[in-house]
Subunit: 110 residues, 2 copies
């Protein structure tokens, strides 16, 4: 398991500063290369492909379990054959370490 | 249960004609008023509001069960406190009766 995946999310600080580009760059290297920075680097996004709808929904449930455990929740778009995952820290209007911790835990899922 | 909700989806006919505006209008009257026509009337959309993430995911699973039973699958966007549902018939690039049947069955969920 990656170092990032072993960590726990901390409560979001309202109005806190999001990670700067250098910090984001370092953390990106610890994630699966499928993750992308979108929305002017304020959001992490990854799309999983599946054979059908149910497999996508099953993965959404696995990610939902992580989200509940960490109390940090992505947006999940379930469609036939795909699952989209978007992570950002709304309280900061950008990325926090919490986003990378949840992403790393998602990377550990099989 | 509405008449529409009692019906079963039929296999989508590739290249078939989508419903015309008059047909759509009639069927819309049989759905909950929360459903909206979007994407130039080629898609049905509804957003549910919830108290948290898990309730939205629970509803996604209930809708997923309907989708599997009918073999007609919406796109579902699970977020903290909301679930977005989008229905269209991709084979027709528009709306078919299947979309309204699944929407009516979703309306029956508690």
């Amino acid at each position: 398991m990656s170092e990032l995946a072993k960590r726990k999310c901390v409560p979001c600080e309202e109005g806190g500063e999001p990670l700067n580009p250098d910090q984001v760059e370092v953390l990106m290297q610890q994630l699966s290369p499928e993750w992308m920075l979108i929305d002017q680097h304020r959001m992490l996004a990854r799309t999983f492909r599946f054979k059908n709808f149910q497999e996508a929904l099953d993965m959404a449930n696995k990610i939902g379990k992580i989200a509940e455990e960490e109390n940090h929740h992505p947006d999940l778009t379930v469609a036939w054959g795909s699952l989209g995952v978007e992570l950002m820290t709304h309280a900061m209007d950008g990325l926090s370490e919490n986003d990378f911790i949840v992403a790393a835990k998602i990377d550990e899922l099989k």
